[in-house]
Protein backbone atom coordinates (compact mmCIF):
# COMPACT_ATOMS: atom_id res chain seq x y z
CA UNK A 1 0.00 0.00 0.00
CA UNK A 2 2.98 2.32 0.46
CA UNK A 3 3.12 3.35 -3.19
CA UNK A 4 -0.53 4.43 -3.55
CA UNK A 5 -0.03 7.74 -1.82
CA UNK A 6 -2.40 10.69 -1.69
CA UNK A 7 -5.71 11.15 -3.45
CA UNK A 8 -8.87 13.20 -3.61
CA UNK A 9 -12.56 12.51 -3.93
CA UNK A 10 -13.63 12.61 -7.56
CA UNK A 11 -16.25 15.37 -7.83
CA UNK A 12 -17.86 16.57 -11.04
CA UNK A 13 -17.11 20.20 -10.13
CA UNK A 14 -13.44 19.37 -10.76
CA UNK A 15 -13.62 17.20 -13.88
CA UNK A 16 -12.37 19.88 -16.26
CA UNK A 17 -9.70 21.09 -13.82
CA UNK A 18 -8.39 17.56 -13.35
CA UNK A 19 -8.06 17.16 -17.10
CA UNK A 20 -6.31 20.54 -17.33
CA UNK A 21 -3.87 19.71 -14.49
CA UNK A 22 -3.08 16.00 -14.81
CA UNK A 23 -0.96 13.99 -12.40
CA UNK A 24 -1.45 16.15 -9.31
CA UNK A 25 -2.82 13.27 -7.25
CA UNK A 26 -1.92 9.59 -7.19
CA UNK A 27 -5.48 8.26 -7.14
CA UNK A 28 -9.13 9.20 -6.83
CA UNK A 29 -11.95 7.93 -4.71
CA UNK A 30 -15.21 7.77 -6.67
CA UNK A 31 -18.60 7.65 -4.97
CA UNK A 32 -20.01 4.37 -6.20
CA UNK A 33 -23.66 5.44 -6.41
CA UNK A 34 -22.81 8.41 -8.65
CA UNK A 35 -21.70 5.93 -11.29
CA UNK A 36 -24.28 3.19 -10.76
CA UNK A 37 -26.21 4.49 -13.77
CA UNK A 38 -26.83 3.07 -17.22
CA UNK A 39 -24.58 5.39 -19.25
CA UNK A 40 -23.96 8.96 -20.35
CA UNK A 41 -21.63 11.60 -18.99
CA UNK A 42 -21.00 10.12 -15.50
CA UNK A 43 -19.58 6.85 -16.83
CA UNK A 44 -17.80 8.64 -19.66
CA UNK A 45 -15.90 10.75 -17.14
CA UNK A 46 -15.24 7.80 -14.85
CA UNK A 47 -13.74 5.80 -17.73
CA UNK A 48 -11.69 8.84 -18.75
CA UNK A 49 -10.15 9.24 -15.31
CA UNK A 50 -9.71 5.52 -14.82
CA UNK A 51 -7.42 5.46 -17.86
CA UNK A 52 -5.01 7.77 -16.03
CA UNK A 53 -5.52 7.09 -12.33
CA UNK A 54 -6.16 4.21 -9.94
CA UNK A 55 -9.63 4.57 -8.46
CA UNK A 56 -11.12 3.35 -5.19
CA UNK A 57 -14.88 2.92 -4.98
CA UNK A 58 -16.64 4.35 -1.95
CA UNK A 59 -20.34 3.68 -1.38
CA UNK A 60 -22.94 5.17 0.93
CA UNK A 61 -25.91 2.84 0.48
CA UNK A 62 -24.87 -0.74 1.19
CA UNK A 63 -26.55 -0.47 4.59
CA UNK A 64 -24.38 -3.25 5.92
CA UNK A 65 -25.83 -2.99 9.42
CA UNK A 66 -29.53 -2.87 8.53
CA UNK A 67 -31.99 -5.52 9.67
CA UNK A 68 -33.50 -5.37 6.18
CA UNK A 69 -32.25 -8.09 3.82
CA UNK A 70 -29.15 -7.22 1.81
CA UNK A 71 -30.18 -5.43 -1.38
CA UNK A 72 -29.06 -7.92 -4.00
CA UNK A 73 -29.93 -5.57 -6.88
CA UNK A 74 -27.66 -2.95 -5.35
CA UNK A 75 -24.88 -5.49 -4.90
CA UNK A 76 -25.29 -6.62 -8.51
CA UNK A 77 -25.03 -3.04 -9.74
CA UNK A 78 -21.97 -2.53 -7.54
CA UNK A 79 -20.38 -5.69 -8.88
CA UNK A 80 -20.86 -4.45 -12.45
CA UNK A 81 -19.22 -1.16 -11.51
CA UNK A 82 -16.35 -3.03 -9.86
CA UNK A 83 -15.84 -5.07 -13.02
CA UNK A 84 -15.75 -1.84 -15.05
CA UNK A 85 -13.42 0.12 -12.78
CA UNK A 86 -11.19 -2.61 -11.34
CA UNK A 87 -10.82 -0.47 -8.23
CA UNK A 88 -8.01 -0.35 -5.73
CA UNK A 89 -10.54 -1.41 -3.10
CA UNK A 90 -14.26 -1.09 -2.36
CA UNK A 91 -15.50 0.66 0.74
CA UNK A 92 -18.75 1.59 2.42
CA UNK A 93 -19.77 2.65 5.92
CA UNK A 94 -20.23 0.75 9.15
CA UNK A 95 -23.82 1.85 9.70
CA UNK A 96 -27.36 1.30 8.47
CA UNK A 97 -29.06 3.58 5.97
CA UNK A 98 -32.67 2.54 6.46
CA UNK A 99 -35.06 -0.32 6.88
CA UNK A 100 -38.57 -1.43 5.94
CA UNK A 101 -37.63 -0.65 2.35
CA UNK A 102 -37.00 3.03 3.03
CA UNK A 103 -33.61 4.56 2.35
CA UNK A 104 -32.82 7.46 4.68
CA UNK A 105 -29.72 8.46 2.66
CA UNK A 106 -27.91 8.97 5.94
CA UNK A 107 -25.26 7.03 7.80
CA UNK A 108 -27.13 5.93 10.93
CA UNK A 109 -24.87 4.48 13.61
CA UNK A 110 -25.29 1.00 15.05
CA UNK A 111 -25.45 0.05 18.70
CA UNK A 112 -22.16 -1.59 19.59
CA UNK A 113 -23.62 -4.82 20.93
CA UNK A 114 -22.74 -8.47 20.50
CA UNK A 115 -26.02 -8.93 18.65
CA UNK A 116 -25.14 -6.18 16.18
CA UNK A 117 -21.64 -7.59 15.80
CA UNK A 118 -22.98 -11.04 14.91
CA UNK A 119 -25.44 -9.49 12.49
CA UNK A 120 -22.95 -7.24 10.69
CA UNK A 121 -20.17 -9.85 10.56
CA UNK A 122 -22.46 -12.34 8.87
CA UNK A 123 -23.58 -9.76 6.31
CA UNK A 124 -20.03 -8.57 5.60
CA UNK A 125 -19.02 -12.14 4.83
CA UNK A 126 -21.96 -12.54 2.47
CA UNK A 127 -21.14 -9.28 0.69
CA UNK A 128 -17.49 -10.28 0.38
CA UNK A 129 -18.56 -13.60 -1.15
CA UNK A 130 -20.82 -11.78 -3.60
CA UNK A 131 -18.23 -9.18 -4.59
CA UNK A 132 -15.32 -11.61 -4.54
CA UNK A 133 -13.14 -9.27 -2.50
CA UNK A 134 -12.62 -7.90 0.97
CA UNK A 135 -14.90 -5.08 1.99
CA UNK A 136 -13.40 -1.94 3.53
CA UNK A 137 -15.68 -0.32 6.12
CA UNK A 138 -15.48 3.25 7.34
CA UNK A 139 -16.12 4.42 10.89
CA UNK A 140 -18.90 7.02 10.69
CA UNK A 141 -19.34 10.31 12.47
CA UNK A 142 -22.18 9.88 14.94
CA UNK A 143 -24.19 12.14 17.16
CA UNK A 144 -26.05 9.83 19.53
CA UNK A 145 -24.76 7.30 22.04
CA UNK A 146 -26.86 4.17 22.42
CA UNK A 147 -27.53 3.24 26.03
CA UNK A 148 -27.54 -0.37 24.82
CA UNK A 149 -23.92 -0.38 23.60
CA UNK A 150 -21.75 -3.00 25.27
CA UNK A 151 -18.53 -2.32 23.37
CA UNK A 152 -16.64 0.78 22.40
CA UNK A 153 -16.73 1.64 18.71
CA UNK A 154 -13.11 0.60 18.28
CA UNK A 155 -13.68 -2.69 20.08
CA UNK A 156 -16.61 -3.32 17.76
CA UNK A 157 -14.55 -2.53 14.65
CA UNK A 158 -11.61 -4.65 15.78
CA UNK A 159 -13.89 -7.60 16.52
CA UNK A 160 -15.66 -7.18 13.18
CA UNK A 161 -12.36 -7.22 11.28
CA UNK A 162 -11.39 -10.37 13.11
CA UNK A 163 -14.68 -12.20 12.57
CA UNK A 164 -15.48 -11.12 9.01
CA UNK A 165 -11.93 -10.66 7.69
CA UNK A 166 -12.77 -7.19 6.43
CA UNK A 167 -10.71 -3.99 6.48
CA UNK A 168 -11.03 -0.45 7.77
CA UNK A 169 -11.30 2.90 6.09
CA UNK A 170 -10.15 4.99 9.02
CA UNK A 171 -11.81 8.38 8.77
CA UNK A 172 -9.67 10.55 11.00
CA UNK A 173 -12.17 13.39 10.97
CA UNK A 174 -14.94 11.00 12.00
CA UNK A 175 -12.83 9.77 14.91
CA UNK A 176 -12.33 13.38 15.94
CA UNK A 177 -16.03 14.24 15.55
CA UNK A 178 -17.31 11.16 17.38
CA UNK A 179 -14.71 11.54 20.15
CA UNK A 180 -15.99 15.07 20.74
CA UNK A 181 -19.66 14.08 20.53
CA UNK A 182 -19.37 10.94 22.66
CA UNK A 183 -16.63 12.22 24.92
CA UNK A 184 -14.14 9.43 24.35
CA UNK A 185 -10.39 9.54 23.81
CA UNK A 186 -9.62 9.75 20.08
CA UNK A 187 -6.17 8.25 20.61
CA UNK A 188 -7.70 5.27 22.40
CA UNK A 189 -9.84 4.76 19.28
CA UNK A 190 -6.80 4.82 17.00
CA UNK A 191 -4.84 2.49 19.26
CA UNK A 192 -7.75 0.06 19.33
CA UNK A 193 -7.82 -0.50 15.59
CA UNK A 194 -5.72 -3.44 14.36
CA UNK A 195 -2.76 -2.01 12.47
CA UNK A 196 -2.82 -4.49 9.62
CA UNK A 197 -6.50 -3.86 8.84
CA UNK A 198 -6.33 -0.16 7.96
CA UNK A 199 -6.55 0.20 4.18
CA UNK A 200 -7.21 3.92 3.77
CA UNK A 201 -7.47 7.23 5.63
CA UNK A 202 -10.13 9.85 5.10
CA UNK A 203 -9.65 13.49 6.02
CA UNK A 204 -12.39 16.13 5.92
CA UNK A 205 -13.69 19.32 7.45
CA UNK A 206 -16.61 19.61 9.83
CA UNK A 207 -18.84 22.14 11.60
CA UNK A 208 -18.44 22.67 15.32
CA UNK A 209 -21.68 23.77 16.97
CA UNK A 210 -20.10 24.03 20.41
CA UNK A 211 -22.15 21.30 22.05
CA UNK A 212 -21.60 18.86 19.18
CA UNK A 213 -19.75 18.60 15.88
CA UNK A 214 -21.45 17.74 12.59
CA UNK A 215 -19.54 16.00 9.83
CA UNK A 216 -20.37 18.39 7.01
CA UNK A 217 -17.42 18.02 4.60
CA UNK A 218 -17.90 21.66 3.68
CA UNK A 219 -14.85 23.27 5.29
CA UNK A 220 -11.07 22.92 5.33
CA UNK A 221 -9.61 20.37 7.73
CA UNK A 222 -9.16 21.81 11.22
CA UNK A 223 -5.98 21.76 13.29
CA UNK A 224 -7.24 19.12 15.73
CA UNK A 225 -7.90 16.70 12.88
CA UNK A 226 -4.43 17.36 11.43
CA UNK A 227 -2.94 16.56 14.83
CA UNK A 228 -4.91 13.35 15.04
CA UNK A 229 -3.87 12.51 11.48
CA UNK A 230 -0.22 12.79 12.48
CA UNK A 231 -0.87 10.28 15.25
CA UNK A 232 -2.73 8.02 12.82
CA UNK A 233 0.19 8.07 10.37
CA UNK A 234 2.58 7.12 13.16
CA UNK A 235 0.34 4.22 14.16
CA UNK A 236 -0.53 3.14 10.60
CA UNK A 237 2.43 4.18 8.40
CA UNK A 238 2.08 4.11 4.64
CA UNK A 239 -1.72 4.02 4.54
CA UNK A 240 -3.14 5.88 1.49
CA UNK A 241 -4.80 9.17 2.39
CA UNK A 242 -7.49 11.20 0.68
CA UNK A 243 -9.52 14.34 1.39
CA UNK A 244 -13.31 14.39 1.10
CA UNK A 245 -15.12 17.57 0.18
CA UNK A 246 -18.83 17.30 -0.60
CA UNK A 247 -20.25 20.79 -0.14
CA UNK A 248 -18.96 24.34 -0.54
CA UNK A 249 -16.52 22.73 -2.95
CA UNK A 250 -13.50 24.97 -3.63
CA UNK A 251 -11.37 25.07 -6.80
CA UNK A 252 -9.33 21.93 -7.41
CA UNK A 253 -6.09 23.82 -6.69
CA UNK A 254 -7.29 24.62 -3.18
CA UNK A 255 -7.85 20.95 -2.39
CA UNK A 256 -4.47 20.10 -3.93
CA UNK A 257 -2.90 22.59 -1.53
CA UNK A 258 -4.72 20.95 1.38
CA UNK A 259 -3.48 17.58 0.18
CA UNK A 260 0.07 18.97 0.24
CA UNK A 261 -0.43 19.68 3.94
CA UNK A 262 -1.40 16.04 4.43
CA UNK A 263 1.70 14.94 2.52
CA UNK A 264 3.89 17.14 4.66
CA UNK A 265 2.39 15.95 7.94
CA UNK A 266 2.60 12.32 6.87
CA UNK A 267 6.24 12.70 5.80
CA UNK A 268 7.21 14.31 9.09
CA UNK A 269 5.21 11.81 11.14
CA UNK A 270 6.91 8.94 9.37
CA UNK A 271 10.36 10.46 9.88
CA UNK A 272 9.96 11.48 13.50
CA UNK A 273 7.20 11.73 16.05
CA UNK A 274 7.93 15.11 17.63
CA UNK A 275 8.53 16.87 14.30
CA UNK A 276 5.18 15.65 13.08
CA UNK A 277 3.55 17.21 16.09
CA UNK A 278 5.20 20.52 15.17
CA UNK A 279 3.96 20.26 11.59
CA UNK A 280 0.45 19.59 12.75
CA UNK A 281 0.60 22.56 15.06
Amino acid sequence: MNDIGFGLGLRHDHYEEIVAAPGKVSWFEALSENYMVAGGMPLHWLDTFRRDYPIALHGVSMSIGSIDPLDQTYLGDLKRLIDRVEPLWVSDHLCFTGLRGINMHDLLPLPYTEEALDHVAERVMRVQDRLGRRLVLENVSSYVTYAASELTEWEFIAALCQRADCEVLLDVNNVFVSAFNHEFDALAFLRGIPRERVRQFHLAGHTNNGSHIIDTHDNPIVRGVWELYAEAVRLFPGVPTMIERDANIPPYAELLAELDVARDIAARATESGPEARQAAE
Binding site: E33, N34, M36, V37, A38, G39, G40, M41, P42, L43, H44, S61, M62, S63, S66, I67, D71, Y74, F96, T97, G98, L99, R100, G101, I102, N103, M104, H105, D106, L108, L110, P111, T113, E115, A116, H119, Y143, V144, T145, Y146, A147, A148, S149, E150, L151, N181, H182, E183, G210, S211, H212, I214
Partner: protein, 265 residues
Protein backbone atom coordinates in the same frame (compact mmCIF):
# COMPACT_ATOMS: atom_id res chain seq x y z
CA UNK B 1 -21.12 -0.37 29.67
CA UNK B 2 -24.45 -1.35 31.12
CA UNK B 3 -27.28 -3.24 29.49
CA UNK B 4 -30.08 -1.49 31.33
CA UNK B 5 -31.70 0.05 28.25
CA UNK B 6 -30.77 -2.74 25.89
CA UNK B 7 -33.21 -3.29 23.07
CA UNK B 8 -32.86 -5.70 20.19
CA UNK B 9 -31.02 -4.43 17.12
CA UNK B 10 -34.29 -4.54 15.19
CA UNK B 11 -36.17 -2.57 17.84
CA UNK B 12 -33.47 0.06 18.02
CA UNK B 13 -33.26 0.49 14.25
CA UNK B 14 -37.04 0.77 13.90
CA UNK B 15 -37.21 3.32 16.71
CA UNK B 16 -34.32 5.32 15.24
CA UNK B 17 -35.94 5.45 11.81
CA UNK B 18 -39.31 6.34 13.31
CA UNK B 19 -37.69 9.25 15.11
CA UNK B 20 -36.06 10.58 11.96
CA UNK B 21 -39.31 10.19 10.00
CA UNK B 22 -41.18 11.93 12.83
CA UNK B 23 -43.49 8.96 13.28
CA UNK B 24 -42.42 8.16 16.85
CA UNK B 25 -40.28 9.53 19.68
CA UNK B 26 -39.61 6.28 21.54
CA UNK B 27 -35.98 6.28 20.48
CA UNK B 28 -35.24 9.18 22.84
CA UNK B 29 -35.19 6.65 25.67
CA UNK B 30 -32.52 4.56 23.93
CA UNK B 31 -29.81 7.20 23.72
CA UNK B 32 -27.86 9.24 26.24
CA UNK B 33 -27.34 12.91 26.93
CA UNK B 34 -23.73 14.05 26.91
CA UNK B 35 -22.20 16.60 29.25
CA UNK B 36 -22.44 19.17 26.43
CA UNK B 37 -25.74 18.37 24.71
CA UNK B 38 -29.08 16.80 25.48
CA UNK B 39 -30.15 13.76 23.51
CA UNK B 40 -32.96 15.52 21.64
CA UNK B 41 -30.54 18.10 20.25
CA UNK B 42 -28.29 15.28 19.10
CA UNK B 43 -31.11 13.20 17.65
CA UNK B 44 -32.38 16.19 15.73
CA UNK B 45 -29.10 16.31 13.82
CA UNK B 46 -30.46 13.21 12.08
CA UNK B 47 -34.05 14.46 11.80
CA UNK B 48 -32.98 17.81 10.32
CA UNK B 49 -30.30 16.26 8.15
CA UNK B 50 -32.74 13.81 6.61
CA UNK B 51 -34.96 16.56 5.20
CA UNK B 52 -32.10 18.86 4.21
CA UNK B 53 -30.29 16.11 2.33
CA UNK B 54 -33.35 15.18 0.29
CA UNK B 55 -34.29 18.80 -0.34
CA UNK B 56 -30.80 19.25 -1.77
CA UNK B 57 -31.37 16.27 -4.07
CA UNK B 58 -34.57 17.87 -5.36
CA UNK B 59 -32.83 21.23 -5.73
CA UNK B 60 -30.23 19.64 -7.99
CA UNK B 61 -32.78 17.67 -10.03
CA UNK B 62 -35.35 20.48 -10.36
CA UNK B 63 -33.63 23.86 -10.80
CA UNK B 64 -36.46 25.03 -13.05
CA UNK B 65 -39.13 24.27 -10.46
CA UNK B 66 -36.97 26.06 -7.88
CA UNK B 67 -36.64 29.07 -10.19
CA UNK B 68 -40.43 29.17 -10.50
CA UNK B 69 -41.27 28.61 -6.82
CA UNK B 70 -38.47 30.40 -4.99
CA UNK B 71 -36.56 28.86 -2.06
CA UNK B 72 -39.28 29.15 0.61
CA UNK B 73 -42.11 27.64 -1.41
CA UNK B 74 -39.77 25.05 -2.88
CA UNK B 75 -38.66 24.04 0.62
CA UNK B 76 -42.29 23.70 1.73
CA UNK B 77 -43.20 21.67 -1.34
CA UNK B 78 -40.10 19.48 -1.00
CA UNK B 79 -40.93 18.63 2.63
CA UNK B 80 -44.45 17.61 1.59
CA UNK B 81 -42.99 15.45 -1.18
CA UNK B 82 -40.48 13.85 1.18
CA UNK B 83 -43.31 12.93 3.56
CA UNK B 84 -45.43 11.52 0.74
CA UNK B 85 -42.66 9.70 -1.14
CA UNK B 86 -39.83 8.49 1.10
CA UNK B 87 -36.92 7.11 -0.87
CA UNK B 88 -37.14 3.44 -1.72
CA UNK B 89 -33.98 3.32 -3.81
CA UNK B 90 -30.40 3.04 -2.58
CA UNK B 91 -29.42 5.71 -5.08
CA UNK B 92 -30.74 9.20 -4.26
CA UNK B 93 -30.63 9.87 -7.99
CA UNK B 94 -34.09 8.25 -8.21
CA UNK B 95 -35.65 9.96 -5.19
CA UNK B 96 -37.38 12.72 -7.15
CA UNK B 97 -38.94 10.57 -9.83
CA UNK B 98 -42.53 11.04 -8.56
CA UNK B 99 -42.41 14.81 -8.23
CA UNK B 100 -44.36 15.71 -11.40
CA UNK B 101 -47.18 13.30 -10.51
CA UNK B 102 -47.12 14.57 -6.92
CA UNK B 103 -47.52 18.16 -8.09
CA UNK B 104 -50.37 17.21 -10.41
CA UNK B 105 -52.30 15.36 -7.73
CA UNK B 106 -51.57 17.17 -4.47
CA UNK B 107 -53.25 20.39 -3.28
CA UNK B 108 -52.25 23.18 -3.37
CA UNK B 109 -49.65 22.30 -6.00
CA UNK B 110 -52.33 21.00 -8.36
CA UNK B 111 -53.25 24.67 -8.90
CA UNK B 112 -49.87 25.20 -10.61
CA UNK B 113 -49.87 22.92 -13.65
CA UNK B 114 -46.90 24.80 -15.15
CA UNK B 115 -44.72 23.66 -12.22
CA UNK B 116 -45.78 20.06 -12.78
CA UNK B 117 -44.89 20.37 -16.46
CA UNK B 118 -41.51 21.85 -15.52
CA UNK B 119 -40.91 18.92 -13.20
CA UNK B 120 -41.82 16.44 -15.92
CA UNK B 121 -39.46 18.15 -18.35
CA UNK B 122 -36.56 18.24 -15.88
CA UNK B 123 -37.01 14.61 -14.90
CA UNK B 124 -37.02 13.59 -18.57
CA UNK B 125 -33.78 15.54 -19.10
CA UNK B 126 -32.27 13.65 -16.18
CA UNK B 127 -33.42 10.32 -17.56
CA UNK B 128 -31.83 11.10 -20.91
CA UNK B 129 -28.61 12.31 -19.24
CA UNK B 130 -27.58 8.92 -17.84
CA UNK B 131 -29.63 6.55 -19.98
CA UNK B 132 -27.84 3.62 -21.65
CA UNK B 133 -25.22 4.57 -24.22
CA UNK B 134 -26.42 3.77 -27.70
CA UNK B 135 -24.96 4.71 -31.07
CA UNK B 136 -27.65 6.22 -33.30
CA UNK B 137 -28.40 4.63 -36.68
CA UNK B 138 -26.43 6.39 -39.43
CA UNK B 139 -27.83 7.51 -42.77
CA UNK B 140 -25.72 5.04 -44.75
CA UNK B 141 -27.36 2.13 -42.94
CA UNK B 142 -30.86 3.36 -43.77
CA UNK B 143 -29.94 4.05 -47.41
CA UNK B 144 -28.70 0.50 -47.80
CA UNK B 145 -32.11 -0.96 -46.91
CA UNK B 146 -33.45 -2.84 -49.99
CA UNK B 147 -36.54 -1.23 -51.60
CA UNK B 148 -38.83 -4.17 -50.83
CA UNK B 149 -38.02 -3.91 -47.12
CA UNK B 150 -39.79 -0.53 -46.85
CA UNK B 151 -43.11 -2.38 -46.73
CA UNK B 152 -42.25 -3.90 -43.37
CA UNK B 153 -39.41 -1.87 -41.90
CA UNK B 154 -39.94 -0.39 -38.45
CA UNK B 155 -37.71 1.95 -36.49
CA UNK B 156 -37.07 2.27 -32.77
CA UNK B 157 -35.96 5.51 -31.14
CA UNK B 158 -32.88 5.79 -28.95
CA UNK B 159 -33.61 4.49 -25.47
CA UNK B 160 -32.93 8.02 -24.20
CA UNK B 161 -35.69 9.55 -26.35
CA UNK B 162 -38.68 11.04 -24.51
CA UNK B 163 -41.80 12.53 -26.12
CA UNK B 164 -43.65 15.16 -24.10
CA UNK B 165 -46.45 17.65 -24.72
CA UNK B 166 -46.47 20.94 -22.85
CA UNK B 167 -49.39 23.31 -22.42
CA UNK B 168 -46.93 25.87 -21.03
CA UNK B 169 -43.78 27.35 -22.48
CA UNK B 170 -41.64 25.05 -20.33
CA UNK B 171 -38.39 24.24 -22.21
CA UNK B 172 -37.87 27.82 -23.37
CA UNK B 173 -38.48 29.12 -19.86
CA UNK B 174 -36.18 26.47 -18.41
CA UNK B 175 -33.32 27.91 -20.44
CA UNK B 176 -33.77 31.19 -18.54
CA UNK B 177 -33.73 29.52 -15.09
CA UNK B 178 -30.34 30.95 -14.10
CA UNK B 179 -31.00 34.42 -15.51
CA UNK B 180 -33.80 35.29 -13.08
CA UNK B 181 -34.06 35.66 -9.34
CA UNK B 182 -35.32 32.45 -7.69
CA UNK B 183 -39.09 32.55 -7.68
CA UNK B 184 -39.23 34.94 -10.62
CA UNK B 185 -39.25 32.47 -13.50
CA UNK B 186 -42.48 32.98 -15.39
CA UNK B 187 -43.80 30.16 -17.57
CA UNK B 188 -46.53 31.32 -19.91
CA UNK B 189 -49.52 29.24 -20.98
CA UNK B 190 -49.61 28.39 -24.69
CA UNK B 191 -52.65 28.69 -26.96
CA UNK B 192 -52.29 25.00 -27.77
CA UNK B 193 -50.13 22.24 -26.30
CA UNK B 194 -46.80 21.96 -28.09
CA UNK B 195 -45.09 18.61 -28.71
CA UNK B 196 -41.43 18.24 -27.70
CA UNK B 197 -38.78 15.58 -27.96
CA UNK B 198 -35.75 14.97 -25.72
CA UNK B 199 -32.93 12.67 -26.78
CA UNK B 200 -29.21 12.05 -26.20
CA UNK B 201 -27.39 10.89 -29.34
CA UNK B 202 -23.90 10.96 -27.80
CA UNK B 203 -23.14 12.57 -24.43
CA UNK B 204 -25.06 15.82 -24.82
CA UNK B 205 -28.81 15.88 -24.27
CA UNK B 206 -30.86 17.61 -26.99
CA UNK B 207 -34.43 18.84 -27.00
CA UNK B 208 -36.60 20.62 -29.52
CA UNK B 209 -40.22 21.22 -30.38
CA UNK B 210 -41.96 19.23 -33.10
CA UNK B 211 -44.37 20.10 -35.88
CA UNK B 212 -47.80 18.55 -35.28
CA UNK B 213 -47.45 16.02 -38.11
CA UNK B 214 -43.92 15.20 -37.02
CA UNK B 215 -45.12 14.48 -33.48
CA UNK B 216 -47.86 12.22 -34.80
CA UNK B 217 -45.45 10.26 -36.95
CA UNK B 218 -42.87 10.06 -34.16
CA UNK B 219 -45.51 8.69 -31.78
CA UNK B 220 -46.42 6.08 -34.40
CA UNK B 221 -42.75 5.15 -34.76
CA UNK B 222 -42.33 4.88 -30.98
CA UNK B 223 -45.38 2.58 -30.96
CA UNK B 224 -43.43 0.27 -33.29
CA UNK B 225 -45.57 0.74 -36.41
CA UNK B 226 -43.97 -0.10 -39.78
CA UNK B 227 -43.05 2.60 -42.27
CA UNK B 228 -46.28 2.36 -44.35
CA UNK B 229 -48.26 3.00 -41.16
CA UNK B 230 -46.08 6.02 -40.42
CA UNK B 231 -47.11 7.37 -43.82
CA UNK B 232 -50.75 6.67 -42.99
CA UNK B 233 -50.42 8.54 -39.73
CA UNK B 234 -49.57 11.65 -41.77
CA UNK B 235 -52.83 11.55 -43.76
CA UNK B 236 -54.38 13.66 -41.03
CA UNK B 237 -52.07 16.46 -42.22
CA UNK B 238 -51.19 15.82 -45.90
CA UNK B 239 -52.80 14.06 -48.82
CA UNK B 240 -51.99 10.52 -49.87
CA UNK B 241 -49.59 11.59 -52.63
CA UNK B 242 -47.54 13.77 -50.29
CA UNK B 243 -47.40 11.42 -47.32
CA UNK B 244 -44.49 9.13 -48.40
CA UNK B 245 -42.24 12.09 -49.25
CA UNK B 246 -43.06 13.88 -45.99
CA UNK B 247 -42.50 10.66 -44.03
CA UNK B 248 -39.18 10.05 -45.75
CA UNK B 249 -38.15 13.66 -45.10
CA UNK B 250 -38.97 13.45 -41.41
CA UNK B 251 -37.21 10.10 -41.09
CA UNK B 252 -34.12 11.53 -42.75
CA UNK B 253 -34.02 14.45 -40.33
CA UNK B 254 -34.40 12.13 -37.34
CA UNK B 255 -31.55 9.98 -38.60
CA UNK B 256 -29.39 13.06 -39.15
CA UNK B 257 -30.19 14.29 -35.66
CA UNK B 258 -29.36 10.93 -34.14
CA UNK B 259 -32.80 10.02 -32.78
CA UNK B 260 -33.06 6.53 -34.26
CA UNK B 261 -31.61 3.66 -32.26
CA UNK B 262 -32.37 0.69 -34.50
CA UNK B 263 -34.53 -0.67 -37.32
CA UNK B 264 -35.68 -4.07 -38.43
CA UNK B 265 -37.51 -5.53 -41.41
Amino acid sequence: MNRSNAGSLADLQRAFQDYVLQSGDGFVGSVRDTSKADRTTLLDVYRDGYALRLIEVLTIDYPGVLAMAGPADFDHMARAYIAAHPSHHPNARWFGRHLADFLVSTPPYDKSPAAAEMARFEWALGEAFDSPDQAPVVAEAVMSVPPEAWETISFAPLTSLRRLDFAFDVPTSWQRREEVEPGELQVAALDEPLPWVIWRPELRTNFRSLEPDEATMLDAMIAGLPFPSLCEALLEFVNEDQAPARAAGLLRSWVEEGMIGSFRF
